[in-house]
Subunit: 392 residues, 2 copies
């Protein structure tokens, strides 16, 4: 592939020095929209790390990329949208491998230096003639990170990019994800690039720390994808080695930005709901409780209706695996107490939830130190519409 | 209250000898529909048993009725719809107690012989003047079990009754429940009556056994109510003492009928979906896996769209707490294999799911003996509509 130097004005994955990208319309999507991209690390270093779905049913590209990342080294990430290459058996893994091999040939790399990310429909074999044609067409590297971010979209309505500028070094990122957002990542693909000097171990730690409080707090519909992948590559081109705190902060900044963008673009969303839980034994229990509320369809429908139906919060949280005092639970909507001591507050039904952002705070009343939050969305007609007519 | 003898043609809770019922429109519901009922056991015996929600946040009537049932004796069950009397603190329990006391006075009973069941909105105090007026109005007992079944409806569209006729004895039942159906009962209130001779222990065993394979296999939206209650009363008026097997079979028959009616009438349902899971280590794990699929909104939306998107089954089950071989999962839609060895079967997208009933069978591929099933529904526009405009 033809290498070029990213322009200083580049954003997203091409913002850091020494990263190039390319996008194309191979023809995988019936819609005829862009569907393949590649992000290439031009060095000098090839340190990398990744986090993947916790689903036990994983797509072939996850299996492949996990193995490719085992040595903490990557030179490129190849993406396709429109087909997840999941649940395709041995042929699926053979196809992913063929994609990596062809990209590696064109980039003069070893196939183990190339990760592969796929997103789209589960259970359909990749149209490999079209896909390999797309890999050829990607052989025109440039600095257009936005085009790459656009090519990985599925039901996303906007491309998602983030950039963190630091003294002497830069971090860029792109991501996609709108539905299936659940614990341990969303249905997301994320690629983060940086020209900082950072070891694979430092990158892995930063990525896990940031994911825990960003992507892993997003829970749109309780579903967890077979393909979730977040990869970070660091080439050291800036010559600057940030402290662990500086590195962690930059990774957190771009991950938080992408997570915000994903929540805002979640399928059929009309409300962004933040649920925080306190007053239970541990942070893990608080997270369980917050997730239980965030996944409750009756609660989510109430949010769609701007309905301060706090009874559904209590009904939902009563089933959570968390210590609570059932007689002493308090609920706040947008800061206003609506339920104190497990009893309704006069005027609770009049709390205004008509805005796009809704804050729900729940105190489980045990006095324990546990606290956590999740971000979710309402359950709307558009969610049903989008997800009942996806594959057919 | 005025006692009368049920007619031989009575169905539902009044079908067995020695049970009377009454219904009224007290004025709890803004709609002006019937909203209170009572079922009275006229003896000679007063044996009873019950099962209740597993939610830790329980409504006052659950607290009260559990205590009333502690001695295995009940003479009457008082119902109201339109208000769940849940999350109302000490006042809620005082109100439930006042309801039971007034009914007991009128029926010449001890308050501890009266159970109370409430269903409706959570977190609103009962309008006690209206409610106590309703208790007075119920003082006109007859044999119209159907009127009682109608008065306990909330968003139910049809009254739900069942009757099991046996040689010399009879069992009758009524129930309500359409949403919030989840593990450990649905949002259901059920009252079962029988003129058989049966001990409280025999009744309890029969009820728990039947609930496990009927109400507890219904999972419409993963939510669990604060008010779920199933009560059975046996008066021995027939003089016939069925064997444990005969008693269990009759209880199972009426519970299965009510569960079928509840599934068919679930909020916004356009599909009835049965999900069975096999090939895992234990029945409990199979149940976990079936529930995980049945609660997955992406799967439920696909069912609404009659879309044989089996990939969503695999993505959902991969997160279940159950032993599986991720490379050897098979899925059948209406008996047709759509995924074998975790790989799509040619033609899988053409399986016809346009009918109302959809059967989903999943083999987790370990060869283990565990198996279980749940019954659920699709996620439709009507579900969102009904549940986004409930309280406001």
């Amino acid at each position: 592939m033809t290498a070029s130097t990213p322009s200083p004005s580049a954003t997203g994955v091409c913002a850091p020095t020494g990263f190039a990208a390319s996008a194309t319309t191979a023809g995988i999507k019936p819609s005829g929209k862009p569907d393949m991209a590649v992000v290439v690390n031009q060095g000098p270093q090839a340190n990398a790390a990744g986090v993947f779905t916790r689903n036990r049913v994983v797509a072939a590209p996850v299996t492949y990329s996990r193995a490719a990342l085992a040595d903490g080294q990557l030179r490129a990430v190849l993406f396709n949208s429109g087909n997840a290459n999941a649940c395709n058996g041995k042929q699926g893994l053979a196809d992913t491998t063929a994609m990596a091999q062809r990209a590696a040939e064109l980039l003069d790399l070893d196939p183990q230096q190339v990760a592969v990310c796929s997103t789209g429909l589960i259970g359909e074999l990749l149209p490999m003639d079209v896909v390999l044609g797309g890999v050829e067409a990607l052989n025109n590297l440039g600095a257009d990170g936005h085009a790459a971010a656009t090519a990985i979209m599925t039901t996303d309505t906007v491309a998602k990019e983030a950039t963190a500028y630091r003294e002497g070094w830069t971090m860029g990122a792109m991501g996609k994800g709108v539905g299936m957002m659940a614990p341990s990542l969303a249905t997301m693909l994320v690629c983060i690039t940086t020209d900082a000097v950072a070891s694979p171990q430092a990158l892995q730690g930063a990525l896990e720390g940031a994911s825990a409080v960003t992507f892993n707090t997003l829970d749109v519909d309780g579903s967890t994808s077979t393909n979730d992948t977040v990869i970070i590559m660091a080439n050291g081109a800036s010559g600057v080695e940030p402290s662990p705190e500086e590195l962690n902060a930059a990774v957190l900044e771009v991950c938080a930005s992408l997570a915000d963008q994903m929540q805002a673009d979640a399928e059929g969303v009309t409300k962004r709901v933040r649920i925080s839980v306190e007053g239970t034994a541990s942070d893990a229990q608080a997270l369980n409780a917050a997730r239980t509320i965030g996944r409750d369809n009756l609660f989510k429908c109430a949010m769609f209706g701007s309905d301060p139906n706090w009874g559904r919060v209590l009904a939902a949280v009563g089933m959570a695996d968390a210590e609570m005092d059932p007689e002493n639970i308090s609920v706040y909507f947008n800061g206003a107490p609506v339920c104190v001591g497990s009893t309704g507050v006069p005027g609770a039904r009049d709390v205004d939830l008509s805005g796009v952002d809704i804050d729900v705070r729940v105190d489980l009343g045990t006095g324990g130190p546990g606290q956590a939050f999740v971000r979710t969305t309402d359950l709307s007609h558009a969610y049903v519409e989008i997800n009942s007519a996806y594959s057919s």
